[in-house]
């Protein structure tokens, strides 16, 4: 059917092209820029195409190392956030855009697996990766890195007010923390959803005090909800906004404090912000890579997956993507080793339950917090 429409359209196009068309100039919009480095040479015989989200980043040396080892080029295709990329992969399952997809996280994993976009691949490098990060026993999605969504607070603000910083989720609903917290909308933001999942894992859906009771209390305690992480962190968080925001507690990542140190204008002895990492107060997001069904070059795709799990790539992850490497043999950079805190017991939510309940949870949350 699609083919017929296309042929008809092309015919129409050809017809108009042949006619003594109007004298208006026809323009071929050729982009005026030559490709930038590191663009693969199109004529190269071997190429691995990787589709991923806009936050993907890695050093030039790492990419060059792979290209040299395998005498191949890497083309990275980026589009929007993890959700956008996954949906694109699902819609193009019969004619994939790339060979490999990286960036499906634990909240989206079961959608990806149900849609059957990945082929299993049991990489030998998986032996170096702890079992707790492996969620798919068929090895269709392999863990590359992880991060924890946690509450962050502005140390200086709490010191100046003489108030103890929050130690756990329960603290946020106490009267002395009224109006201090900003969170992201679970319906529109990935850390927002992750934090909602942390509260679901921590308080549960049944019992005397459910996650919805907690959120109702948070609402009474004047929690502010923003659309995304950017607005929460740069616009509302006292530290991130440089004094214009009014909220000293924000939902961000456990890695945000070391990143603040790394990107500070002046060197810090200690991080200006800190993450709350008590048991059950964070949600762990694991990011996965998988070989797409119908990959053009399976062997090269396998090589790329092995490479992503290997130490060269893994030790490059923290300072480029601000996540923790899944491979424990990869050494952490100094700023992470010194300033990062990893929660030992993040809240637990079964990943299959996430896809099944996502909409219901978000609707219930929206109803409780926003309407």
């Amino acid at each position: 059917m699609k083919r017929i429409i296309m042929i008809a359209l092309i015919g129409l196009l050809a017809l108009t092209a042949c006619g003594p068309g109007p004298a208006a100039p026809t323009v071929t919009p050729v982009p005026t820029t030559p490709p930038d480095t590191p663009t693969p040479v199109p004529s190269a015989p071997r190429q691995v195409r990787v589709m991923t989200h806009d936050s993907f980043d890695i050093s030039e040396e790492t990419i060059a190392a792979f290209e040299e080892q395998h005498d191949a080029t890497v083309e990275i295709l980026q589009a929007g956030d993890a959700g956008v990329v996954l949906n694109q992969a699902i819609l193009s399952v019969d004619n994939p855009l790339a060979d490999v997809l990286y960036g499906v996280d634990s909240t989206l994993l079961s959608r990806a697996l149900d849609a059957g976009i990945f082929e299993p691949y049991e990489s030998p490098v998986l032996a170096e990766i702890p079992d707790r990060l492996e969620l798919d026993d068929q090895h269709r999605a392999l863990p590359v890195d992880y991060g924890n969504v946690c509450l962050n607070y502005d140390k200086g603000w709490f010191a100046a007010q003489g108030l103890a910083p929050p130690a756990n989720l329960e603290d946020l609903v106490k009267p002395e923390y009224k109006g201090l917290t900003v969170v992201e909308n679970a319906a529109t933001s990935s850390p927002g959803l992750a934090f909602l999942l942390a509260t679901i894992g921590h308080f549960g859906e049944t019992g005397d005090y459910t996650y919805l009771d907690y959120w109702a209390d948070l609402r009474d305690n004047d929690v502010l909800v923003t659309e995304g992480w950017e607005d929460a962190y740069w616009g509302q968080f006292t530290y991130g906004s440089g004094g214009e925001g009014e909220r000293p507690i924000v939902v961000s990542y456990a890695s945000s404090p070391p990143v603040e140190v790394y990107f500070a204008e002046e060197p810090f002895d200690e991080a200006p912000t800190a993450a709350v990492v008590s048991d059950g107060s964070c949600f762990r997001q694991i990011e996965f890579v998988g070989i797409l069904r119908g990959a053009q070059n399976r062997e090269l795709a396998e090589a790329w997956v092995d490479f992503m799990l290997g130490t060269i790539f893994q030790k490059d992850i923290p300072l480029h993507m601000f996540m923790f490497p899944a491979n424990e043999q990869a050494a952490l950079p100094e700023v992470f080793a010194k300033f990062a805190v990893v929660p030992e017991h993040p809240a637990e939510v079964d990943y299959a339950a996430i896809e099944a309940n996502r909409e219901a949870w978000i609707e219930a949350w929206t109803e409780t917090v926003l309407r």
């Binding site: 699609k2 004298a23 982009p31 050093s59 004619n95 996502r358």
Partner: protein
């Protein structure tokens, strides 16, 4: 003056003689076909593909999942909110910008072209950047509140605009003011001021003279600007999400949520379709109104219609309006520039964030040198401008074809070919279409040779052109329709070829309007983020994409570089606008 009689006479004469004289009436179908084929390939085909896939994933139509649409009042409420906030935003924008358009049309004053360029800058700024600028100005600890608190000795900040409807409306005015200013201002500057003077001499009051001579002549341009503003606010996404906070949602927001978060394609497609049909309905109604309201006019060169303000009252009008523009449009921009310079140091200013833009300390493979970002953005923008102006001129010429008598109010619309009558509304459809829906449509549809464009940078230009095209058409059409047919007839009688008639009669008159259209096309492409970010693209980031990338991670250096890149974007656009304004084809642009 008896415009009605005049017009009827022109119309009759036109019917008798004009048919076949205008080159553009010689080949209306050919003219129509080029933009139409463009739309078929890059709009209707992808849209049809994604809608088919959404409604009939297994090959047969199933509407079961649409039950949700009617099971709660949520979607109806969303539709209602979307509509009325757009209507109020449009009224506010037109009301505030009309006096500005008057000032720009009638007066010449020092610094005018700079103010004009600056008022266009908001149009290109990413929403999140605007949100941060508004927080810096209007937030609880923003400049305004701090100033008022200390001035009035208050304890709490007096203004709480955060996450209110008021700030959504304000942002919509901020973004769309320039639409009214430019589209109406251009038309107004070509009107003969003697018409109003004559009315005044005949004893009409100032208000009556405006209402009965100028306003009717301006209506098509006001309608065009208001319509575009309405559609922009109707499909507003970032402004409502970021500035309005989570309590407000437009249809566009719902479409995004249903698509990206729930992958509920049938519901998203249904909402998309509602949005498209509503736009189409608005457009049909608007086209009819506009065609009736347009009269052929004798346009005047600018040097006749504009002068320096002379009396104090004229100066007052100019100063008040320019002051409003500066307060409303330029202070948020200034706040951004200020922050980009002062954020890094405790006191004083520093250009350290600008320096950092040129450094790549972690040798990131995705580092974007500022020069490359500027080059990418400008390259896409120039290609978009060229393509949309070419297609837009063809479309506008086809729409203006008076063989059937658009310009003759006495005759009925029905004389126009159906295709042509529908072309105008159809051209506007991409504006009312969700970027998410169309973006996924591209993935599904354009995946086989010869249209295997899914990962081509060309797709960015095509997507931008779809949005820019309506602006070119809306800018050009009112001017084209105001051309007096006698001019063409006279040229034809003097045995000019149809092409020459077009070049020497039509083009000089519409040239300024074409420039305005080109400015809009350039601007739209420079600032476009939504559609660009949804296209899977090999590394070729535009400036807005680079800004979002900086803002996506913590650390003062990233925030600072995002602000520095935003400042650079404003600078490049201002220079671009000034350059386009200076662009003249011989005497052509002088009108």
């Amino acid at each position: 003056m008896k415009p009605n009689k005049e017009r009827r006479r022109w119309g009759d004469r036109e019917k008798r003689r004009q048919r076949g004289k205008n080159p553009l009436s010689l080949s209306p179908y050919l003219l129509v076909s080029v933009p139409l084929v463009f739309l078929l390939l890059f709009y209707f085909y992808p849209l049809a593909s994604i809608l088919t896939l959404s409604f009939a994933p297994e090959g047969h139509f199933s509407l079961a999942s649409l039950g949700k649409l009617f099971s709660t009042s949520h979607y109806l409420e969303t539709f209602w909110f979307t509509t009325w906030q757009a209507a109020v935003s449009t009224l506010l924008t037109v009301g505030l910008a009309l006096p500005g358009a008057y000032v720009f049309a009638r007066y010449d004053f020092p610094g005018k072209s700079l103010v004009q360029a600056l008022t266009t800058v908001p149009f290109v700024l990413p929403t999140i950047v605007v949100a941060l600028a508004f927080t810096a100005l209007l937030g609880p600890r923003g400049l305004l509140n701090t100033g008022l608190t200390s001035l009035l000795g208050l304890e709490r900040p007096p203004l709480d605009l955060q996450h209110t409807l008021a700030i959504i409306l304000l942002a919509h005015v901020f973004y769309n003011y320039v639409l009214v200013l430019r589209i109406v201002g251009t038309m107004w500057s070509n009107l003969d001021p003697r018409l109003e003077e004559a009315a005044r001499m005949l004893g009409a009051s100032r208000w009556r003279a405006f209402r009965e001579t100028t306003l009717p002549l301006l209506l098509p341009a006001i309608g065009a600007a208001a319509f575009l503003t309405f559609i922009f606010c109707f499909t507003s996404f970032g402004v409502v999400l970021v500035l309005g906070g989570s309590r407000f949602a437009t249809l566009e927001v719902e479409i995004y949520r249903q698509t990206i978060h729930y992958l509920n394609l049938p519901l998203a497609a249904a909402l998309s379709l509602i949005q498209i049909l509503f736009t189409f309905g608005m457009m049909v109604a608007y086209t009819r109104l506009q065609a009736r309201a347009t009269l052929p006019l004798e346009l005047r060169a600018r040097r006749v219609t504009q002068h320096q303000p002379r009396r104090w009252r004229e100066w007052l009008v100019v100063v008040a309006n320019v002051g409003l523009m500066l307060a409303l449009l330029v202070t948020p921009l200034a706040a951004l520039v200020e922050r980009s310079l002062t954020l890094s140091t405790a006191g004083g200013a520093s250009i350290s964030f600008y320096r950092q833009l040129f450094e790549n300390p972690r040798s990131s493979a995705f580092y974007v040198p500022p020069v490359a970002a500027v080059r990418n953005s400008v390259g896409f923008a120039l290609a978009t401008t060229a393509l949309s102006v070419a297609l837009g001129l063809m479309a506008a010429a086809a729409l203006d074809n008076r063989g059937g008598g658009t310009a003759c109010p006495g005759c009925r619309q029905a004389r126009k070919p159906a295709l042509q009558r529908l072309l105008d509304p159809i051209l506007m459809l991409p504006l009312g279409t969700s970027a998410v829906t169309l973006g996924l449509g591209y993935i599904v549809a354009l995946d086989e040779p010869p249209l295997n464009l899914r990962t081509s940078p060309l797709l960015v230009v095509l997507a931008h052109t779809l949005v820019a095209l309506p602006f070119v058409v809306r800018s050009v059409l009112p001017a084209l329709r105001s051309i007096q047919p006698q001019l063409r007839e006279a040229a034809a009688l003097l045995s000019a070829s149809p092409w020459r008639v077009w070049r020497e009669v039509d083009l000089p008159i519409v040239a300024r309007a074409v420039l305005v259209g080109a400015v809009f096309a350039f601007t739209i492409s420079m600032g476009e983020f939504g559609a660009t970010s949804l296209i899977a693209r090999p590394e070729r980031p535009t400036m807005p994409i680079a800004i979002y990338r900086f803002l996506g991670r913590p650390g003062a250096a990233n925030y600072g570089q995002a602000l520095a890149m935003s400042t650079l974007l404003m600078l490049v656009c201002t220079v671009g606008f000034l350059a386009i304004e200076r662009f003249r084809v011989g005497e052509v642009g002088e009108f």
